[in-house]
Subunit: 240 residues, 2 copies
């Protein structure tokens, strides 16, 4: 190792550093479709485009803590589950300056999603349409409430595509689906969540069997109310 390398390793303060940021994918389901909360940029660059909420990471703040803070500041949400997704580090991803950004995924129940949209009127709930491009995933379309196709700022479309892909991949070995549902839910609601994330329809008896066999579901004996037909039993998620 040369002297220069040595110094470089030991005194990186002598070198210019990238800024470090976090970006949040706030994901919920609306009308049975995956939906994300976006902020409209009104400044250069990408003025007029829609962006994921984000913020810089403080020098005394872990990545996770920064994500939690941004969640609080920009969406008024406390204590939701944050999961790191991927870190985007292309040199030119932000034309203003070099920013390395760790993307986080936050899964919201319908209640939490609506509360955030109400508390922060600047947040636009935009539906995500995932064209079925095979297992590999692919670019996603983002639609405004008026069904207009939105253009996202920076590389945020890539971030969103990765979020959807990750979600699909984790669907049947993790508890992500339950993070999108309220405490009590019916098996049909659970199946709807799976179908929305996968973008396919599933066989009902097989789905029930499979999920019940996992041992993650506890029947409550209570039933949904206010339906015009036979009410479904309510279940609760319970760690295996």
């Amino acid at each position: 190792m040369t002297e220069t390398d040595f110094l470089k390793d030991y005194d990186p303060s002598a070198f210019q550093r990238p800024s470090v940021a976090v970006d949040l994918v706030l994901l919920g389901l609306r009308d049975g479709r995956p939906t994300v909360l976006l902020l409209r940029r009104d400044q250069h660059p990408h003025a007029g485009r829609w962006a994921l909420p984000g913020g810089f990471v403080g020098i005394d703040e872990s990545l996770d803590a920064a994500a939690a803070r941004v969640l609080r500041e920009k969406a008024a949400i406390e204590g939701a589950r944050l999961e790191q997704l991927y870190t985007f580090g292309a040199v030119d991803r932000d034309p203003r300056m070099r920013i390395v950004s760790a993307a986080y995924l936050v899964l919201l129940t319908e209640t939490a999603f609506d509360a955030a949209a109400r508390a922060m009127p600047a947040l636009l709930p935009a539906a995500i349409h995932v064209p079925w491009a095979g297992e590999a995933g692919g670019p996603v379309n983002v639609l405004s409430p008026d069904n207009e196709k939105l253009t996202l700022a920076f590389d945020h479309a890539d971030i969103l595509a990765m979020a959807m892909l990750r979600l699909r991949g984790k669907l049947d070995y993790s508890d992500v689906a339950f993070a999108l549902l309220p405490e009590l839910f019916t098996l049909r609601q659970l199946q709807d969540v799976h179908e929305a994330i996968l973008g396919t329809s599933l066989n009902k008896p097989a789905f029930r069997r499979r999920l019940l066999d996992k041992g993650w579901l506890a029947a409550t004996g209570a039933y949904e109310a206010g339906t015009a037909y036979r009410p479904a039993e309510l279940y609760r998620f319970q760690r295996p």
Copy 2:
């Protein structure tokens, strides 16, 4: 948004920034066991402990490019496949200064692994022992060639544990296993790789059926040579 927030968003150069680094998990198989290449630290902090090769990310260098450069500089490897693993951003993960580090996984064939170990004598090939702690993964043990348990520097044991977990998770829907094998390989070698990563033994006929049915394998008609018994046919990996 307050004036302060506005300035903070627009002029982060006024704030202290974390350093950004990459750390590499250089993974191969030796004697049928997962093995990682480590560097011994001889400076404070964690002097005497073993660490993953790593380096700082330049201001004009993407994360991926930095990982490729470190791979070249510290392991003399060109053009291997790099896959981003996770970004570690705890405040105190390095006592010297705030460093956010993106961990990358590099899968090496036995040939490439040995070449790196020979080209860079400082690199120690350390066997990874993954105690079977269920699907969730867990801490891993790292053993020197003399079978002594090594203590890793910083949070590098966490990084390694995550690498093994990721590897296991991707094993049967991606081509990771083939990245650890030479161009031509036997089905038994492929099964050995799977067993080493999973830490379990697999059923031979079922394994063959499953892998052949994926359509990723092309029989070459050639056979291994120099065995004291019936030679196995050589296969090649071929995208589906």
